[in-house]
């Protein structure tokens, strides 16, 4: 296996974050009743004409700039012709020879090693409607709500060589688009999906025949589909056969890819410039203005986090991969210990979010609440251990941090004399262990601290406790 190389290129279809469609004013609301978000243009009624939505153009420019790509001052909309029931015009308006965005690149990081993945282009196109085959035993229904929604197709260069790189690449692009607010990146709803081109070759040989796996809508599927496909192709070649160029589908249940159509069955789309639309001319001033309005992007932010908060590259990566998370973190970390903030956001809060399957926007604990909690730790009111109990309660109730601490009586005991009373009691109750300790079994320190903690119900200030117990035993 070792001398095999995998070559992967990816086309990402990202739905443009826009209230209205690419060429009509219909709404793009997800989950509306079928055929309620459809204009005459979306339904391709006779005589209807497309009119470009300037906001979608702006979103594409932003995305292009975010991908470090060249924005083309002139681009052309083409018609991609094919017949299907959910394609009302009989063609999709797309961009073929002259896309709005040209070459660019993104950086991915795998186990600390950075790799640059080239972007070939980004173009705008309309989405088709949706065919519903499960509403009737004999009929297919068509929902045109999606028809005409703006998509960005982002085509990478074949620069990836493993499923991990492929996933890292899609994650990175998704992260950038979400930073820019140009795509919500919601893969479950289909706002972002990937077509993956995979081929294998022996080291030093020419590129192998590629297969395209269509419509992957989760990172897990992207990884699994690539791994299966690589394996399949290597087995074919090792049997002395040839890989056929084809389009394949990934089936979740069997975790396999299967052939959808061969190269011979591929459509001839008869692309030609859409005569209903003039070439898209972009003023350089506008592009510059958009450039100036771009927010800080994940790579820059990560660097800043490492330098400013003095946190590890790994933590910075975790905290900046999503714009909302990074913003949440910065709200928490403002004027507070960055170490505590990282630990509470990236460990405690993430664990809760994962468990409840929520994203940061729906976090049960707000950034200011989490900040208050950290304040209580920092000023010594509660112990870290008590804080966890408070946090758990915060996730389930509306009560304030202070109220929870009071209600549960979790205020930390930081009064030396009070702690000493507990310690003395524990030492008196365990003379044998005290003896053992003094004879050199210093590991028993933990035992004494644990007993005191038990006695104080965890409220003893651990620093003080440690200090005093040691002092008493060592004397």
């Amino acid at each position: 296996m070792d001398d095999w190389q995998t070559v992967i290129g990816i086309e990402i279809h990202a739905q443009v974050n826009s209230k209205s469609k690419l060429f009509s004013s219909s709404s793009t609301d997800f989950g509306s009743a079928p055929n309620t978000q459809v204009s005459l243009v979306d339904a391709a009624m006779p005589g209807m004409l497309p009119v470009i939505n300037k906001f979608c153009i702006e979103q594409a420019i932003k995305s292009g700039l975010g991908l470090n790509a060249k924005i083309n001052n002139k681009s052309i909309f083409d018609r991609k012709n094919y017949f299907y029931q959910d394609l009302p015009q009989g063609y999709q308006i797309s961009q073929f020879k002259d896309p709005i965005v040209g070459e660019g690149s993104v950086e991915i990081e795998i186990e600390g090693i950075t790799k640059t993945i080239g972007i070939e282009r980004l173009h705008l196109e309309q989405d088709a409607g949706k065919s519903l085959h499960d509403q009737d035993p004999n009929l297919t229904f068509v929902d045109l709500n999606r028809s005409g929604i703006a998509l960005m197709e982002i085509v990478s260069k074949p620069d990836m060589s493993s499923s991990d790189e492929a996933i890292a690449y899609v994650r990175k692009v998704r992260s950038i688009l979400r930073y820019l607010d140009t795509c919500d990146g919601n893969m479950e709803q289909g706002s972002l999906r990937a077509d993956v081109n995979v081929s294998v070759r022996k080291k030093g040989e020419e590129l192998g025949t590629r297969c395209e796996i269509k419509n992957l809508n989760s990172f897990k599927h992207i990884g699994a589909a690539i791994n299966f496909e690589v394996d399949r192709q290597i087995k074919i070649i090792e049997r002395g056969e040839q890989v056929k160029q084809e389009t394949r589908l990934y089936e979740v249940v069997s975790n396999k890819t299967r052939s959808m159509r061969s190269k011979e069955d591929a459509h001839d789309y008869r692309y030609f410039p859409d005569p209903d639309l003039l070439p898209l001319q972009l003023e350089q001033d506008w592009i510059e203005k958009i450039k100036k309005s771009l927010p800080e992007l994940p790579d820059e932010k990560k660097l800043r986090f490492i330098n400013f908060y003095k946190i590890s590259g790994y933590d910075a990566e975790v905290l900046t991969s999503d714009r909302r998370i990074s913003e949440f973190f910065e709200e928490v970390a403002k004027n507070r210990s960055s170490k505590l903030s990282v630990s509470w956001v990236a460990s405690e809060l993430f664990a809760v979010l994962n468990k409840l399957n929520l994203n940061i926007e729906n976090s049960p604990v707000s950034s200011s609440q989490l900040g208050e909690l950290i304040d209580e730790i920092e000023n010594g009111t509660i112990s870290n251990r008590a804080a966890k109990e408070v946090f758990e309660e915060m996730c389930n109730s509306e009560k304030s941090v202070k109220d929870i601490i009071d209600d549960k009586g979790l205020v930390q005991i930081s009064d030396t004399s009070e702690i000493e009373i507990f310690i003395n009691k524990v030492l008196e109750d365990n003379p044998e262990n005290v003896e053992k300790y003094k004879n050199g079994k210093t590991k028993l320190l933990g035992f004494f601290i644990g007993e005191v903690m038990k006695a104080t119900k965890g409220k003893a200030n651990p620093g003080l406790l440690n200090q005093i117990v040691k002092k008493k035993l060592d004397n």
Partner: protein, 490 residues
């Protein structure tokens, strides 16, 4: 009194309250009813027309008439979508299609108070120059040969629009012109037909044939009426991205017939021995008139003229093949029920489209196919830009160009033309203008020896419709042609 009215005449009668809009409308509805032999109308909007006429009269009674179009009965080529009124493009595939919306062109007319008499027959999806490709049967030219009783074609594709004006079934009409579809039938029926600059008139709500060439325009009895109508239908439309931002002009009030010191070009490539002598003679007469009225006649060259027709018959079918994909039986129009999707497409489109439309869809599909695109479509686009350049060069030296509108006059409906390419030659003088996006007008000059109308074409540079109309008016006033064919059809 109510026969052969122009817009100006009818407008005056309404203004002076000598006749009501309803009386005029009813007289036209009656004439339409009596003229079914001509097969001009696919749909007569009787109730709509009467209702609109009463509204005009109501405004007139309150001295609130909107303008010269208020109360004028018009009819529209059945390519314009009209709200709640059947709109077929003369095709079986849309034979049950009733739009929920009004095209910008018809809406502009309605907003100025014009009355919709109905929808006019044309070649199917505007593909043809005889009107014989209509699912609703051919339109018959009101004009007949002196020596024969044969029924003649009115030209096409706006055959119903031209014939209805010649037969006085409406005061004026609106057609569309993709390669000559207004000018050629206007020429065959003795009417004035104007194709505006591409982008002057919105295409929104007009059923598309070839989007980069299609343009709506008026067919009328006089140049004055053409000016009023152009003013009515023109203007920028946000809903059409190819619509020009240039402000609309007052073509009628600015109309003047002076041609003094204008330079008129005569393209040598349009001269041919095949051109019938009478058409040559009228062309010469045109030069003479303009020259006598103070213009200078200059021979010019448009070297790529010969390549226009082949380029046109690649570009137009290419666009059409894509534009007509939406007629698939899924959403509206005809659907032939079948067991699966592909079969449904096949039978719906086989049954719904006529031969000429199918032929052009096939040509268009072919020329856009991978492997042929460069040799056909791309080359045709290059030719198109050369043709445009030809005109750009010529308009550095001349103000307008005079040519015949057609290489022939009306011919018999029964004349079977087996070779479709011969039919395409009808468009030889008109097609280059669409490829270049220029405005042009066809104006009647007289009758040939068979007694059939001969039209000449004037061409100007983009957005110089005013100049075009001015020169046309000069010729019209010098000739005094009457578009009044002998009535045989009632």
């Amino acid at each position: 009194m109510l026969d052969n009215l122009t817009i100006l005449e009818a407008s005056k009668l309404i203004d002076e309250k000598k006749v009501s809009a309803l009386e005029i409308t009813n007289s036209y509805l009656k004439k339409i009813e009596d003229s079914k032999k001509l097969n001009c109308f696919i749909t007569v909007s009787h109730d709509k027309a009467v209702h609109a006429a009463k509204e005009t009269d109501n405004r007139v009674s309150k001295n609130n008439r909107i303008g010269p179009m208020d109360g004028i009965p018009l009819a529209y080529k059945d390519l314009f979508c009209t709200k709640d009124t059947l709109t077929t493009a003369s095709s079986k595939i849309l034979s049950n299609f009733i739009p929920t919306y009004e095209s910008t062109v018809t809406n502009n007319c309605i907003n100025k108070g014009a009355i919709t008499l109905g929808k006019l027959n044309c070649d199917e999806f505007a593909m043809g120059s005889t009107n014989k490709t209509s699912f609703y049967g051919p339109v018959v030219n009101p004009w007949k040969s002196l020596d024969s009783d044969e029924e003649l074609v009115p030209g096409g594709s706006s055959g119903g629009s031209a014939a209805s004006v010649a037969a006085d079934l409406c005061i004026a009409s609106i057609g569309t012109d993709t390669g000559g579809s207004i000018r050629q039938p206007a020429s065959f029926t003795g009417a004035v037909g104007l194709k505006p600059t591409y982008g002057r008139v919105s295409r929104w709500g007009t059923i598309a044939f070839a989007s980069s060439l299609d343009q709506a325009g008026p067919i009328s009895k006089t140049v004055e009426d053409a000016a009023i109508l152009l003013q009515t239908i023109s203007g920028h439309d946000n809903k059409d991205s190819t619509s020009s931002q240039k402000p609309n002009e007052h073509y009628f009030s600015n109309l003047n017939s002076s041609v003094k010191n204008l330079k008129i070009g005569i393209p040598k490539e349009y001269m041919s021995d095949d051109l019938p002598l009478e058409i040559q003679n009228y062309w010469n007469e045109g030069k003479k008139i303009l020259s006598e009225n103070g213009a200078e006649i200059i021979e010019i060259s448009l070297p790529h003229t010969k390549t226009a027709l082949p380029a046109y018959y690649i570009i137009a079918p290419a666009e059409a093949s894509s534009n007509l994909s939406r007629y698939d039986g899924v959403k509206y129009g005809l659907r032939t029920n079948e067991k699966n999707l592909i079969k449904m497409y096949e039978s719906t489109r086989s049954d719904g489209f006529g031969d000429e439309v199918k032929r052009r869809i096939m040509i268009g599909t072919y020329v856009l196919s991978s492997g042929y695109y460069d040799a056909y479509y791309l080359k045709a686009q290059k030719i198109r830009s050369l043709i445009k350049k030809d005109f750009d060069n010529v308009f550095k030296d001349v103000n307008a160009i005079l040519t015949p509108a057609t290489p022939n006059t009306a011919f018999a409906i029964d004349k079977e033309e087996k070779d479709p390419v011969k039919n395409y030659l009808n468009d030889i003088f008109t097609v280059p203008i669409n490829l270049a996006g220029l405005p042009a007008i066809s104006i009647p000059f007289g009758l040939d020896k068979k007694g059939l109308p001969v039209g000449m074409q004037l061409i100007t540079n983009s957005f110089e419709e005013q100049l075009l109309l001015n020169i046309a008016k000069n010729i019209q006033d010098s000739i005094n042609f009457k578009n009044e064919p002998k009535c045989w059809w009632k």
